[in-house]
Amino acid sequence: MLHVRDTDRYDSFTRRTIIVAAGGSLLVTGLLARMYQIQVLEEEKYATLADKNRVSVQLVPPLRGKIFDRFGVELAKNRKNFRVLIIPAQTQDIDEALDALSQYIEISDTKRKKILRTAKRQSKFSPITVAQNMEWDKFARINIFGPSLSGIQPDAADTREYPYGSLFSHVLGYVAAVNEKEAKSNPVLMLPDFRIGRAGVEQSSELQLRGEAGNISQEVNAYGRVIRELDREEQTPGKDLVLTIDTDLQQYSMDRLSEVDSGAAIVMDTKTGDILSLVSAPGFDPNEFNVGLSQETWDALNNDQFKPLYDKAVKGEFPPGSTFKMVVALAALEAGVISPNEWISCYGAVTLGNGKFHCWKRGGHGAVNMRSSIKKSCDVYYYEVAKRLGIDAIEEMAYRFGFGQTYDFGIPGEADGLVPSKGWKIANFGEKWQQGETLIAGIGQGYLLATPLQLAVMTARLANGEEQVRPRIIRSIGAKPVPIEPAAPLRIEPEHLAIVRDGMNAVSNEQGGTAYWSSRMEGEGFTLAGKTGTAQVRRITRAERAQGVKKNEDLPWKYRDHALYVAYAPVENPRYAISVFVEHGGSGSKAAAPVARDIMQKVLEKDPLGVEPFQPVADSGNRSKNT
């Protein structure tokens, strides 16, 4: 028997225990309901999130296609870039990790600051490059000690290398880092240290050279450390390119041009338009653009008066001068405004209205027919011819010989030059075309502008005689030959062409020709036919002409005339066309013709078109497994 009050409190306790138990049951039911909600109703959502956590898909950068010359010489290849990366997520303290690393490699204060700044900006799982392009022995040491260095990851990536350095700078261009705007379009471009073509063939064939990225799905833990590989899709290397260029010839042209400081030279196949060499001197080393240019180098390149970054071969525009005379002559013959045997007297100048038009030869050439007008490059003859022709006929013939247009043949940034016309004058100046301007155009001066490439095309068409050949620089892409597009017919009477060619032959091979002394070739069967040109870059005032025109040598470099020379060889059955441009070189016969002659000498000695070219095999050694 219990105390009454005790019975009370026992009953109270039992009731309250039931309340507490009921409350507890309610709470447990709540737990189960919550578990049902997240584990059954929302399972899919969380399963996806868990996979996203655990699976990291990494792109494998594609191996860039190689570039070969016509004989299979490697002009652009890939080398191993030994890098050391730091992954902030895998280290407690970046500073400490870098201290430990500095036992093996030097880390400057600025470099360290840059790394710390980058680390703050981006995800802690993204690797930051600490050092790259390391020497093998240093890299090997870090590889050995790597495991003891937290967050440090040695890595061998592939990067571009140009074994010939500056020799092909304007043909190949270079590769450089991707800017943020471009990177948004394609995740491959966001890979660290990814490079894309920035000029030359590297730029124009970017998509073919790039290839396609592979990917690796990896299981990673919360610290980003890879646990195992789940899936792998191999990268597809970019396609190899074979160019029409001959490295020997390119090298010789560069060496020869280097002697004249600044200029351009192009050698073309007169039948196919294949470019055998294309040089703009001086060049720059594209390797430096890939590795990262120092400020000093960049400033030096930019401030150089010879403009090494500027591709004069396809971008340089200047009046073609006397090299244009063949076009005017052919226009006249085709139009029938003059007979090749008609003699025109040159007294050193002609007058038209108020204007006086001078011949380059002060005393005049005397009686000149078409052949000798080319041989001696008589200006007065062409003033007369141009006056009879009118600008429309000159314009039409200029286009037929490739002026005023670009070819989109693989080197971006081609200038299209300028072929003036009546409509152009009205559109740009709001003024009527003047007959005096036709006369000036007749000697390739005035508004007329051309590039060394266009002059080479003109010469190739003159030598070809039948087709409007177009330049080509890429022979094959991924072992597939690039077809030579069928060229439009030139539609010039053969006998008219013969007259002009005879004149060009006389320029180089007859005494009295403007380039007889400077471009006549030595050796058995080695002949070329050419034409000099001098592009005036300043206006000669009347006052100066009265006192005597200043000689080029007396002027500062940048006021001197540009020297030009175009030629084809051999004279009979020509296969090679050349155009040489010497910037501010003075006269064409003195400065440009010898360069052209020497290069052509080299061409004929080797006869690259007679040598069996490189036949790339589909899927060559380039498809190596990416490491």
């Binding site: 309340i19 584990q39 969380y46 655990r54």
Partner: protein, 385 residues
């Protein structure tokens, strides 16, 4: 007056054999089963290794079993006599932590005694239950609701709470408070007083928020309300925990196959987040099974309380049950994102020594209540009162 009770009921001492017979072996088996689930999870956490957690946990559990038997076979009246001295001893230890304690996980909770480290705040949870049960045993039902008699109750709950809060350990303080309040309720505090104080709790809560809670504690509450607010910081744990649970689905990813846990996305998975790991690897079925085991254990505990013929035993048993329940509920609710992350382990399963010992001590007391259910104790037999 008090001696009146002594003559009634069975005051005789039980023999050891009687105790062995009265012992509920099913209950013990359930406890062992839950502990084994814990070992299995700790084995999985270590990537299929007994080290460093599972083996040590087994040793602790073995020691815990010894404690369980000793406590269970000790006469309930001894525990009644010991209630106050034990409480004061633990209180002293708790204060000592303030001076010579070791800081761990951002709070000063540990006390180094020779080779072992103990957490007095853990032991305090049992000590409070014992002291309160002893106190309520000694007063009548009417007295429970009298303000004068409530003062010692609030002192017994409040003093350790304040000390624990200072460490600062919000989770343990909340557990202490909740357990104490639950006992007060079970002892028969009038509903009128309960509702009045609930009403008063609102301004008190405001004061606590403004003056008592530390920034990191407030941060936890903010993050609890919206985990995505700080996905890489304080909210990270809870987001990863829910992802792990959810991705486990109905049947789980399989033992040792939980990617969230095995790949370290899940934090503190051997301690506070072990239930998440279980849920990820064994799914809803596994989680519900463990909860079910807990509920059965609690059911036994409640039955012991109701069967006991002395008030101290009843309150003691229920106090331990409430404490045990609060542990598992807070832990489970926390990993599911229902409560803020407060650092409360999952009983018997989470890795941790003091918690295991305290728990086994508590279960021992529960079993002592059961074995000695017929042992009556007079309202005041104790020398200290």
């Amino acid at each position: 007056m008090a001696y009146l009770d002594t003559s009634m009921g069975s005051g005789r001492d039980l023999r050891f054999a009687d105790k062995l017979k009265a012992m509920d072996w099913t209950f013990l088996l359930l406890v062992i089963l839950i502990a084994c689930i814990g070992f299995a999870m700790l084995f999985s956490v270590a990537n299929g290794s007994l080290n460093p957690w599972a083996s040590r946990q087994m040793v602790r559990f073995a020691i815990g079993l010894v404690i369980f038997f000793i406590v269970a076979f000790t006469d309930i009246r001894v525990w009644m006599d010991m209630a106050y001295p034990f409480y004061f001893a633990v209180l002293v230890l708790l204060i000592a932590v303030d001076f010579v304690g070791v800081t761990g996980m951002g709070a000063q909770r540990w006390l180094k005694l020779g080779p072992i480290q103990i957490q007095p705040s853990e032991i305090m949870k049992i000590a409070v239950v014992m002291a309160l049960a002893r106190y309520f045993h000694g007063i009548t039902l009417d007295q429970v609701s009298r303000p004068l008699f409530l003062i010692p109750v609030f002192a017994m709950i409040g003093i350790p709470m304040v000390i624990v809060l200072r460490q600062p350990d919000l989770g343990t303080a909340a557990l202490l408070g909740a357990t104490g309040v639950a006992l007060l309720f079970l002892a028969g505090l009038k509903f009128r007083i309960i509702f009045t104080s609930l009403f008063l709790a609102i301004p008190a809560g405001y004061v606590a928020w403004t003056y008592v809670l530390l920034d990191y504690q407030k941060e936890r509450i903010f993050t609890f309300l919206d985990p995505s607010r700080d996905p890489l910081g304080a909210g990270y744990n809870i987001i990863q925990s829910i992802i792990a649970l959810g991705s486990g689905g109905l049947f789980g990813k399989g033992y040792m196959q939980g990617s969230q846990a095995q790949l370290d996305f899940l934090p503190e998975k051997q301690t506070d987040f072990i239930f998440t790991m279980l849920g990820e690897e064994f799914g809803l079925v596994g989680g519900a099974f463990l909860l079910g085991l807990y509920v059965v254990v609690l059911g036994y505990g409640i039955a012991y309380a109701l069967q006991s013929k002395n008030h101290f035993g009843r309150l003691l048993a229920m106090g331990i049950c409430v404490n045990f329940f609060l542990y598992l509920f807070i832990n489970a609710a926390m990993v599911m994102g229902l409560l803020p992350v407060v650092g409360v382990p999952l009983p018997l399963v989470s890795y941790g020594g003091t918690a295991m010992m305290t728990l086994m001590f508590g279960f021992g007391l529960l079993m002592s209540v059961h074995i000695h259910k017929n042992t009556d104790a007079p309202r005041s037999t104790v020398s200290l009162w």
